[in-house]
């Protein structure tokens, strides 16, 4: 097990320096709209080939966890998620910033991220092999139902009208079908645009759908993006601690949801944070305050998305199957290092693995002071920076970010077109999140459905395959619960706690 020796091995000055540098670099990259955690890891990988295996892993884990956390800054301060994992952070983070509580939101995001990261890493340290078995229980059908569950969240996200949300979700589903189908290889909705063969890239779409409308709004309105007058840039740690103490159950649940969804190859930080957000909202006595600046919303998403880091490493290390997209890159780096992942890794190369896990825990702890300091700096800069400088800088980042995903100018065009469309739709009362949900979940649902259909057909009964599996039935129960709960609450007339501010 993770004995003290391995902790001491992780505590060398070089490893600590790498963890610190990784967290700082990751946080900054994640904070910039358009630059994702996957990109941060990919940029670092070539530098790690000359390092010792444990040091290389610690650097990669640190930059990864930093980037997932950094995504919260742009979400809270600019209403644009810095990484896909931070989509749900915008729901309550930005309203908090508008209401003059941006500094508090940043502190909460930091504390929740550290907590979630520690829970995920704790599972990795203590329960990796049995948890990896959970990942294998999820077949195509389970992914299909999980994606459907994710789609039902559109109804409960509660931004504007449900009908508009559903229409937005359908738009997203349509967008997800463009290009060569992942399963089957059919070419759909491409027309004469060869650039669309690869489909709509999710990161480019995300940048366009969230950032461009914000930029257009900033230019079109004379008011400041955040009122400097009512902002006090403090850590507000005592206040944050009180909120944390009250929300301990929400935090624990979100971190566990994040870990479990991180373990599933094919899901990821964006789904984990959305599911935990919706669960937090469903069970909260202040559910009507969600979407209007409820601290619990920020806590739920940030605890969940950082928990996916540790969770995602579980199948990566135990099974040799990457849990999240950045893990796929890290897995390749491990192979160059001569490390064979798989069931024997923990026994045969225990020193490297446990030194890495302790390194990841240290990196997560380092995130606490580093995150609070960078958060304060980011907050002051964003509040103080004049719009004339902010808008062009973010606009440049959106172009760079959408280009950098695949070094492809066509994806920059996609980003701009979708962005302008999102602004027009925004004027008509449609928000971006249902579209993004449809886009992300559409391809997961489709692949799961087709694969499940093929397997079910080969086994003799498609219906039994889709409805007869226990985990699927469990997910279906949650879908029904999610759909019926608001109606039941209303019928019962359960009193709502008055939102206090």
């Amino acid at each position: 097990m993770g004995s003290l020796d391995h902790l001491l091995a992780a505590l060398t000055p070089l490893n600590l320096l790498l963890a610190l540098a990784g967290v700082v670099a990751g946080t900054v990259i994640g904070a910039l709209p358009g630059l994702t955690a996957t990109m941060a890891v990919a940029v670092l990988v070539p530098f790690t080939f000359s390092m010792a295996p444990a040091a290389a892993l610690i650097a990669l884990g640190a930059i990864y966890t930093g980037a997932i956390y950094g995504g919260a800054y742009a979400a809270i301060l600019l209403n644009t998620p810095g990484t896909p994992s931070a989509i749900a952070t915008t729901f309550d983070g930005y309203p908090m910033a508008r209401a003059g509580r941006g500094d508090l939101a940043l502190t909460l995001a930091c504390l929740a991220s550290v907590f979630g990261g520690l829970v995920g890493a704790g599972f990795l340290l203590l329960l990796a092999p049995p948890m990896a078995a959970v990942a294998l229980k999820f077949g195509p059908v389970e992914y299909f139902w999980l994606a459907v569950f994710g789609l039902t969240l559109i109804a409960s996200l509660g931004e504007g009208s449900t009908v508009r949300g559903l229409i937005g979700g359908c738009l997203g589903l349509l967008l997800s079908m463009i290009g060569v189908a992942e399963v089957g290889g059919d070419v759909r909705y491409v027309g004469d645009f060869k650039a669309l063969l690869g489909g709509i890239d999710i990161v480019s779409a995300l940048i366009g759908l969230y950032c461009v409308p914000v930029l257009i709004e900033l230019v079109a309105t004379p008011v400041r993006h955040l009122e400097a007058a009512n902002q006090v840039a403090g850590f507000r740690l005592r206040e944050a601690a009180a909120i944390l103490a009250r929300a301990k159950f929400n935090l624990a649940r979100s971190a566990v949801i994040g870990t479990v969804i991180g373990i599933l190859p094919g899901a990821g930080g964006s789904i984990a944070s959305l599911v935990s957000y919706s669960e937090a909202k469903r069970t909260s006595p202040r559910r009507d305050n969600f979407g209007r600046g409820e601290p619990d919303g920020v806590l739920a998403t940030e605890a969940a998305n950082n928990a996916t880091v540790g969770g995602g490493f579980i199948p990566t290390l135990v099974l040799g199957i990457p849990g999240t997209p950045p893990d796929a890159i890290i897995l390749g780096a491990l192979l160059v290092q001569g490390i064979r992942t798989g069931p024997t890794l923990f026994t045969q190369q225990g020193p490297i693995v446990y030194t890495f896990v302790w390194g990841l825990i240290l990196a997560t702890l380092i995130m606490l002071p580093v995150g609070l300091l960078i958060g304060r700096f980011a907050f002051r800069s964003i509040v103080a920076i004049p719009k004339a400088a902010l808008v062009p800088s973010v606009a440049l980042l959106t172009v760079l970010g959408s280009f950098a995903v695949h070094n492809n100018t066509a994806e920059v065009q996609q980003m701009v077109v979708l962005g302008v469309a999102a602004w027009v739709l925004g004027q008509l009362g449609f928000s971006a999140s249902p579209i993004v949900l449809g886009l992300i979940l559409g391809s997961i649902a489709e692949a799961g459905f087709v694969q499940g259909h093929l397997i079910g057909g080969a086994k003799g009964s498609v219906w039994a395959e889709f409805l007869g599996r226990p985990i699927s039935q469990g997910i279906m129960a949650f879908i029904l619960l999610g759909l019926l709960w608001p109606w039941w609450i209303k019928r019962r007339g359960v009193p709502q706690e008055v939102p206090h501010d």
Binding site: G139, G185, I329, G332, G342, N407, L454
Partner: protein, 317 residues
């Protein structure tokens, strides 16, 4: 000096290892472009070639990435790059044959001047360790008993795995259901989770997943040194040899002597015992297709893939 003589001299130099003198290639850093992202198998291979290249020539290799469109983003630009032997690019089969057949990707198979194919990841038929299928005969019997009921995961539609499944079904006269997943990782997860009866993967998958899976047969000429218990399809009576091949290509107008020298260096890297050891430890199979065998090899591969692609209905023109 005639063209032929120069070529012969270069080949001789390469063979005897006195590269540092005469022709002088390489006398500066060589840019090695990988048309995929970092961390993939193409990147790993290049990273392992790099130190041997430096040891042999005294010059370093700068590995760069140009990912996009499954490699097509890089290959479509290859011939526009500086043709002096200091810009080389990784190249992959079946990609460079199948991609131009399926759609206009901005290059044709013959536009890619491959100087050397250095290894391949052989196709392998895998089941979980506790599967009732123990041998290839068990597998074929099961598929014959219930046509279509055997499900096999693979890395994607029209991938090397898919081609292997189609080829073997035809050879054995069986019908199996191929279930495409988005990448080898997800295909392996489906195999380990027993969502499918088995998987068309690679010898590298068997090495990565270790004792959790059993290799029923591998598509090599001889057994893989690291997988002594996995028979070849050949020894079981099925002429299936192939997989995903990797090589090095140069811009078309690169001088012939430079091409020959580069091929010579790659041949020497492939003969380095330490390099062979690392490749085989990872599950790769060594391959040596240099300029002398290139035309025949490519003609053979193209005929095979094009025939299959037509049968699978993926040729779009």
């Amino acid at each position: 000096m005639t063209h032929f003589n120069r070529l012969a001299a270069a080949a001789l130099l390469a063979a005897t290892g006195t590269l540092a003198g005469a022709a002088g290639y390489p006398d500066k850093t060589v840019n090695y472009i990988i048309p995929f992202g970092p961390g993939g198998e193409s990147d790993i291979s290049a990273r392992l070639q790099e130190p041997v290249f430096k040891q042999l020539t005294g010059q370093s290799v700068a590995i760069q990435y140009k990912p996009g469109a499954g490699g097509a983003a890089g290959w479509s630009q290859l011939n526009g790059m500086t043709a002096d032997g200091y810009t080389v690019m990784g190249t992959n089969l079946p990609h460079i044959v199948l991609q131009p057949l399926q759609k206009d990707v901005g290059y044709q198979t013959d536009d890619i001047t491959t100087v050397y194919w250095f290894h391949y990841t052989p196709d392998a038929l895998l089941v979980t360790a506790d599967s009732p299928i123990k041998t290839l005969k068990d597998f074929i019997d099961a598929a014959k008993k219930a046509p279509g009921a055997t499900t096999l995961s693979g890395s994607g539609t029209n991938s090397a795995n898919h081609l292997a499944q189609q080829q073997f079904d035809k050879m054995a006269g069986i019908k199996t259901t191929y279930v495409p997943f988005g990448g080898t990782g997800k295909s392996n997860a489906a195999l380990l989770g027993k969502q499918v009866s088995g998987s068309w993967g690679y010898s590298t998958v068997q090495i990565q997943l270790g004792d959790q899976v059993r290799c029923i047969a591998v598509a090599m000429e001889q057994r893989h040194p690291k997988l002594p218990n996995c028979p070849t399809f050949k020894e079981l009576g099925y002429d299936l040899v192939g997989g995903a091949y990797r090589g090095v290509a140069v811009p078309k107008s690169t001088p012939a002597d430079v091409q020959a020298q580069l091929a010579g260096i790659l041949a020497k890297i492939n003969a380095d015992p330490g390099f062979i050891q690392k490749m085989e430890d990872g599950g790769f199979a060594m391959l040596n297709v240099g300029p002398d065998k290139m035309a025949g090899f490519m003609a053979d591969i193209k005929a095979r893939y094009e025939g299959l692609a037509k049968e699978m209905g993926i040729v779009k023109k």
